[in-house]
């Protein structure tokens, strides 16, 4: 599948793609049934689906003559990484501040 490779946040920044993901939280859906919910053309919907697929947000299975889209966990990992990063980041920074404050106090009492 050829679709521009976007990062996680660019992928979810688009309202149509978010809507697709929201619909898929309820159930797996065919590309056709997803497309029925949008005013845009089917190829346009298809393009969004390719982007979601490329970023690991959904998997696509051919079942009979239909293509089924299902949510996939991979795409959501970046979000967790982000939270974890900043959690650790602040923890270490606040510790550093403590060391600094203590050092400062010692100098004062000298």
């Amino acid at each position: 599948m050829n679709a521009p490779r976007l990062d996680t946040f660019q992928v979810i920044a688009d309202p149509s793609r978010r809507q697709i993901l929201h619909m898929l939280t309820q159930d797996s859906m065919t590309i056709n049934s997803l497309a029925e919910n949008f005013d845009m053309s089917r190829p346009a919907v298809s393009k969004h689906i390719k982007i979601l697929y490329g970023a690991g947000f959904i998997s696509i299975e051919d079942i009979g003559r239909e293509r089924y889209c299902t949510l996939k966990e991979d795409g959501f990992k970046d979000l967790q990484e982000w939270l974890k990063f900043f959690d650790d980041f602040w923890k270490s920074k606040l510790k550093k501040l403590e060391t600094l404050l203590n050092k400062n106090q010692k100098n004062k009492t000298k």
Binding site: F9, E61, E81, K96, L97, Q105
Partner: protein, 144 residues
């Protein structure tokens, strides 16, 4: 899934002392990052660090002072992205200082981690097993 980072740490120093380290650029840079902060509401400033490729951040945090109450409270926006002009991280950092037993309890809250994205994630986790079961059913029907 949580979308807020909260941390509390106690320092054996007065709120006035801790406040200095939150609001004086040269002191902030000693424990946090090089910056051009000014304790003025509406002031735009930046924190600069090394790029963080794993998070697709270029290492510059674009910030604006939203609220400032000396020795008590400091709120600024905290935004970043892969390059200038593209914001993918859009959060708010809130500091609160509380005098306690001759020291200070410093509270940090960082919010806004793409709340909409997180809501999709939570919804997804709820429906996860259900989705898997659905696809298994579909697959087994298709192969019949």
């Amino acid at each position: 899934m949580k979308n807020t980072i909260t941390q509390t740490i106690r320092y054996e120093h007065s709120p006035e002392e801790v406040w200095e380290y939150l609001t004086k650029p040269e002191l902030i840079s000693q424990w946090l990052m090089p910056n051009n902060f000014e304790p003025v509401k509406g002031h735009d400033f930046e924190f600069r660090t090394k790029p963080i490729p794993s998070l697709n951040l270029d290492g510059i945090m674009y910030c604006r002072v939203i609220e400032i109450v000396p020795n008590e409270k400091l709120i600024y926006s905290w935004k970043g992205g892969p390059e200038k002009g593209i914001t993918t991280l859009d959060t708010i950092v809130e500091w609160t200082l509380e005098a306690k037993d001759n020291g200070t309890e410093l509270h940090l809250v960082q919010t806004g981690f793409n709340e909409e994205n997180i809501s999709i994630f939570s919804a997804m986790q709820g429906g996860w097993n259900q989705n898997l079961n659905k696809i298994i059913t579909l697959l087994s029907t298709a192969t019949k």
